[in-house]
């Protein structure tokens, strides 16, 4: 703690303890606790409480209040817990019996304030904070605290209930791991006293007839097994396994979902997943007995496991595939059935009944689809999925949803009636479809898949969110289609599909709905990014109306759309005028025209998104070497930075700096590094400068003026980036070892105004704008001056300053203490007036 803080703290404590003061802002109290937490975390010594007696005095005075406010009492409980987190400080507080009075049965626990959830929450959190050593453990166990915590698991406040559960887990682990004396043995394990109490309570509540008690204990076990992977957890499990199994078989208490979650968390623990037999038998039985909706999360969790018996894995997969299998069967003629699952393993009755009921069909499908997407996103899947049938099933679902398929079978017609226009299912199915494109083996169906996708893209009934997902799936499958046609040379099919896609895209680009126009443009950009090297793609695109419509959207009324149009037009340029070989179609695309349009957006658009898109596109062009010869590039960059220099949006200015950064590194790369490697003396530096072409180019392009002004930008990220670039430039122009000397010379030659520049920057770059009109004779276009500036100005110090957050002073503990003190005596009416 700093001396300033130590001086402020007594006043703050007195203010907080004063019942006449209006309650302090909750965030202040929270941040105060954060501060104490950070001070005590790595320092077990008693000095904090000894050197600041105001802390214990504060606790004492709160305890003396007849009616403390719940928020300040809650704060006190949490503070005391944090202070008592080390054994030394715990003993110190106990000398005055403060902890007993706060956390014991005669404390707040037995008063009316206990009814306030924030007090109960403070109590639990306080206990949790102190629970790092045996004295705290015994203090609580001997004082009847365990009973309180068990009761709090059923608290009306969710926050309190879950905190109580976490606390019990923490105490159990602490007790076993700090108090066990004998070496571990599964057969005769001696629970330490405190752990014994907790385990006994868990066992009792599992046997009780109250569903909520059972539920609480199952949740507790779940978090225990997921957070602690020690061998002793198995001993606990052996004592309760039978009871838990009975919940599965007898179903007298409805805890199936929690049970599935418990088993899943156990499966992730090495203690159980390495075990043989009984645990996995229980998992298998759960997969069989639980309803598909309950078993789904367990199944997908099992399939993610690295270690798991293969038969359990197959059982889990069966759970996930059954609904998809059922869909396929429902849609096919009796004889043509080629399902996903071997008929011997599938027991379709339950799933069929769920899918044919209106209330459960969509939710079961959505859950299954979400799980399949999760599986498909895994890099290594330890089990084979039948991709082709899965794709067929997905297509069937999508066709049910848009009414393109209504099969004759009773099940099929029921499901199709339920699913028609079901947006939830459409969204989920399209997500899986997109994920499936990465997997090999679905190629035979690709033609009919595009029929389905195109139907969605064309249909006026497709909502904008579904359309967006259809675009995502389509772009992925188009890439796949291209890979395929490369290997099979089936160009005709690809061309036909591309033509159809662009036809529908033309329509969508004219949609009255901005969301649709925007998603269409994003789709186009993705396609160009992935397929711009492919001839058929370029031909289809350029022979369509899409490029023209895209350019039109540069003037869209919606700024999001304008920004996306800028990006799309920018990418289009890669296949029109930036392409290495000219496009096949007659070249109606003029580079000058497009660049001028984007320049105009950059200087005129009233909103930030399109301007940001332009500057980022320009940087992309520059990176890819599309801006022409070096002189052209220099002019281009110079023009752009003069436009963005005065932009109101700091992110545009930041974009400008990025452009400068790329330009600098490219120029230096092209022209080679400066040849001034051994020029310690300033005059020598000056003499070599004129031979340094890159420096001259930067000066001519007015980069330095932009960079130095940016150092004083009112928005920190801009200053920071400028500083980074100047840093890099200095590294280039002053190779290692040469800089120190020049900085130490101290005396600056007159006439360059660098001293003034240095002073201005040192005055605190953020304190003011860079003075307009250039300032005292600094010539930002003079290479010599700039070389001098780079060598002289203390960029390190600036860098450190700019790297800190702009509110780092206001965020400091000292500032927090001052703020609390400042509110003393004021009435906080402002509070309610939030934005």
């Amino acid at each position: 703690m700093t001396r300033e803080c130590a001086l402020l703290l007594p006043g703050v404590c007195a203010a907080l303890a004063d019942p006449r003061q209006p309650g302090s802002d909750d965030t202040c109290l929270e941040k105060l606790l954060d501060w104490f937490r950070s001070m005590t975390e790595f320092d077990p010594s008693v000095s904090l409480v000894q050197d600041n007696p105001c802390l214990t005095e504060f606790i004492t005075s709160i305890l003396a209040l007849p009616e403390p406010s719940p928020s300040i009492l809650s704060f006190t409980l949490r503070l005391a817990g944090i202070l008592a987190s080390s054994e030394n400080r715990f003993q110190h507080l106990q000398q005055e019996k403060l902890l007993v009075r706060l956390f014991g049965t005669d404390g707040p626990l037995s008063s009316t304030v206990w009814e306030d959830a924030s007090v109960r929450s403070g109590w639990v959190e306080g206990v949790h904070s102190m629970m790092h050593h045996q004295p705290a453990l015994h203090f609580l166990c001997n004082g009847g605290g365990i009973e309180v915590i068990f009761a709090l698991q059923g608290d009306p406040s969710l926050f309190v209930a879950s905190a109580a559960s976490r606390l019990l887990v923490h105490m159990l682990i602490l007790s076993v791991e700090s108090e066990t004396t004998k070496p571990f043995s599964t057969k005769d394990f001696d629970w330490p006293a405190c752990a014994q109490m907790i385990v006994k309570r868990i066992e009792d509540s599992l046997q009780s007839s109250s569903a909520s008690h059972v539920e609480q204990s199952l949740k507790l076990l779940t978090s225990l097994f997921s957070s602690c992977h020690s061998r002793w957890t198995e001993v606990l499990w052996l004592g309760i396994a039978k009871q838990i199994e009975s919940f599965l078989t007898e179903e007298t208490i409805q805890v199936q979902r929690i049970l599935a979650n418990l088993l899943l968390n156990m499966a992730w623990s090495p203690v159980f997943c390495d075990s043989e037999g009984s645990f996995w038998a229980l998992v298998t039985s759960a997969l069989e007995r639980l309803t598909p909706v309950q078993a789904g999360p367990l199944a997908v969790g099992i399939l993610r496991l690295y270690k798991c018996p293969q038969d359990v894995r197959i059982q889990a997969l069966t759970v996930l595939l059954q609904p998809m299998d059922c869909i396929l069967r429902a849609a096919s003629q009796p004889l043509e059935y080629a399902g996903l699952l071997d008929e011997s393993v599938s027991d379709p009755a339950t799933v069929e009944s769920l899918l044919s009921s209106k209330s459960s069909c969509a939710s079961l499908l959505c859950q299954t689809l979400a799980h399949l997407e999760e599986l498909l996103s895994l890099m290594y899947l330890r089990v084979d999925l039948p991709y082709t049938s899965l794709l067929r099933s997905l297509m069937t679902i999508l066709q049910f949803c848009n009414g393109f398929l209504s099969p004759a079978s009773p099940l099929g017609s029921t499901i199709s009636r339920i699913l028609i226009n079901c947006i939830r299912v459409q969204r989920s199915a399209l997500d899986v479809l997109a994920a499936l494109s990465e997997r090999k083996g679905c190629d035979t169906l690709i033609g009919s898949l595009f029929d389905v996708l195109l139907a969605y893209l064309e249909s006026p009934n497709t909502t904008s969110t579904v359309l967006k997902k259809t675009f995502q799936a389509t772009s992925k499958w188009l890439v796949r289609l291209h890979e395929l046609s490369c290997s099979t040379s089936q160009w005709q099919q690809t061309e036909k599909i591309l033509a159809d896609v662009f036809l529908v895209l033309q329509k969508r680009l004219c949609s009255p709905c901005w969301e649709v126009r925007d998603s269409s443009l994003e789709f186009l950009t993705v396609l160009i990014k992935c397929l711009r090297d492919q001839d058929e793609f370029r031909q289809s695109l350029l022979s369509s109306e899409v490029p023209r419509l895209t350019e039109n959207l540069l003037e869209d009324p919606e700024s999001y759309v304008r920004a996306s149009a800028v990006t799309a037009v920018g990418h289009l340029a890669f296949i029109t005028f930036f392409a290495p070989e000219l496009p096949v179609i007659g070249n109606q695309y003029s580079k000058e025209n497009t660049v001028a349009k984007l320049q105009e957006i950059l200087s005129k658009d009233p909103e930030g998104f399109p301007r940001r898109a332009v500057i980022s596109m320009f940087t992309k062009w520059l990176r890819q070497g599309c801006t022409g010869r070096m002189e052209d590039t220099e002019r281009f960059v110079s023009r752009v930075i003069q436009t963005v220099e005065h932009d109101l949006d700091w992110e545009v200015r930041l974009g400008g700096l990025e452009l400068v950064e790329v330009f600098c590194s490219q120029t230096i790369c092209q022209l080679g590094l400066p040849r001034c490697s051994s020029v310690p003396v300033l005059s020598a530096v000056a003499s070599s400068i004129h031979q340094n072409r890159s420096l001259q180019i930067f000066c001519r392009a007015k980069l330095f003026s932009f960079l130095f002004r940016s150092l004083c930008d009112c928005d920190k990220p801009v200053g920071q980036r400028a500083c980074d670039i100047l840093f890099a430039l200095r590294g280039n122009f002053y190779p290692t070892g040469t800089l120190r000397d020049s900085q130490e010379t101290g005396e600056l030659p007159p006439g360059h105004g660098i001293a003034w520049l240095q002073r201005t920057l040192r005055q605190g770059s953020l304190a003011q704008n860079f003075p307009t009109g250039g300032g005292d004779g600094v010539d930002f276009e003079d290479p010599e001056s700039m070389m001098l500036a780079l060598g002289t100005i203390d960029l390190e110090e600036l860098h450190d300053e700019l790297n800190r957050s702009s509110d780092h002073v206001e965020k400091s503990p000292q500032s927090l203490l001052q703020d609390i003190l400042a509110t003393v005596g004021t009435i906080e009416e402002n509070e309610a007036d939030c934005y």
């Binding site: 965030t27 929270e30 304190a767 800190r804 509110d807 007036d833």
Partner: protein
Amino acid sequence: LVCLRLHPGAGQDVGRSCILVSIAGKNVMLDCGMHMGYNDDRRFPDFSYITQNGRLTDFLDCVIISHFHLDHCGALPYFSEMVGYDGPIYMTHPTKAICPILLEDYRKITVDKKGETNFFTSQMIKDCMKKVVAVHLHQTVQVDEELEIKAYYAGHVLGAAMFQIKVGCESVAYTGDYNMTPDRHLGAAWIDKCRPDLLISESTYATTIRDSKRCRERDFLKKVHETVERGGKVLIPVFALGRAQELCILLETFWERMNLKAPIYFSTGLTEKANHYYKLFITWTNQKIRKTFVQRNMFEFKHIKAFDRAFADNPGPMVVFATPGMLHAGQSLQIFRKWAGNEKNMVIMPGYCVQGTVGHKILSGQRKLEMEGRQILEVKMQVEYMSFSAHADAKGIMQLIRQAEPRNVLLVHGEAKKMEFLKQKIEQEFHVSCYMPANGETATIFTNPSIPVDISLGLLKRETAIGLLPDAKKPKLMHGTLIMKDNSFRLVSPEQALKELGLAEHQLRFTCRVHIQDPRKEHETVLRVYNHLKGVLKDYSVQHLPDGSITVESILIQATAHSEDQGTKVLLVSWTYQDEELGSYLTSLLKKGLPQSTA
């Protein structure tokens, strides 16, 4: 009907909203606010409490946003793009248009400030807004087959709405923030007599009767005017939208009226878009603005011009609106530093500032501020706080309850102590239960939903034939078998139910033996029993049958002598399921023995 408060931050804070309502099996999240006082995860609600198993998209049926203030929508992009909610989001058209501007504004400030992690990006805001379904006032929107929502005008800010959520015959109305008195540019909130099972109302000014906003506005203008007159500069830190527009209208008309010449600047480019929306959604503003619109658009500002960074150094008076509103970064902070040292200048804070900002410091009266690099900034300029927020006061809240006639009320968005007072008032005046759950607490409200049931004509005729002629105004009890199938309910006669379900009828009879000490002959005992029952059960038909048994309605009583003890008689009592009550009454009566007097 279950209602859970899940506000961001740890304590029982005022403001920040996020409420989960479960109604007839549907789960709806009302508002998704953020807390600007924190720089870490505490600024967002802890969504892991919504469901411990399963995905949010599967659990929630929809999210509804009441208005564009960040304490009601600030966590939305985080929720939909980072936590992974992928379902529908509803808000009004103006809210959908303005919400992304504010979110973008706040994102920029947050990034600008630096040192913040886990925050959403521009692309996320856009993707989130694409998931939003915009609704019109009074339009019933069918979220799915069972769940429907409807928006009502709430005043407060442009586009603010109250929402009615209905599933079958159960319903909840959520007010969001509202204002029952019209102000300069917005009308008063209104809801029809929808009689919801629960009305969730904000209660920011639960015990306050607010002075009129007019006074505060006059005060504001006076202060600005005085400063400008003496050549000072006025800084008004604002967020891009909302209050800024309100104050612009004020100043614009005042400048026009007083023919003032000092320039007024607006520092952010975003405002142009904001003003555009205020123009576009003119129908959402109040009558007066709509009327003047014919001659002149109130949001077409003549005196207010765009600000350039260089203007701050210009001599002479000026008024500048600059972002951000709490002086914690960027432009407004920079101008503040330039102007703070001059006692002629003034800063007016038109809104609340969280701790950890320069705004908070100067509002709490601190005049020597430490700046970066250990510099001390002495604040000599005048510091003023002006509250312009528009919430319903205690009177307004009562008025809304009178309008909507809810069966229960739940208060949120207020301080516990003040809410307690209002709760008592509501319970007294309207005789409804009033709840005020703490953050993280759940309130459960039981409803008596009336469920429509089809009845066969035959059964209806038969049932009405029994007893008096039916009275349309009085409920009538019907007997039959309820068949629940495919989401429909039908009441049919038991015979019909048997037929439909292909079941055979079973008769259920209960029997019980009662031992009685009576040395007399069996038929004499029977007679004694008969007389006793005849005396006790005057309203029932008690019969003594020739075969020696007794019947009371369907109950049959027979007597036999005990095989081993002739002095004990065994009474065999048997009855059908329908007469269960009478049967058990009779056995308990007989168990008490026979009265001596009848002998």
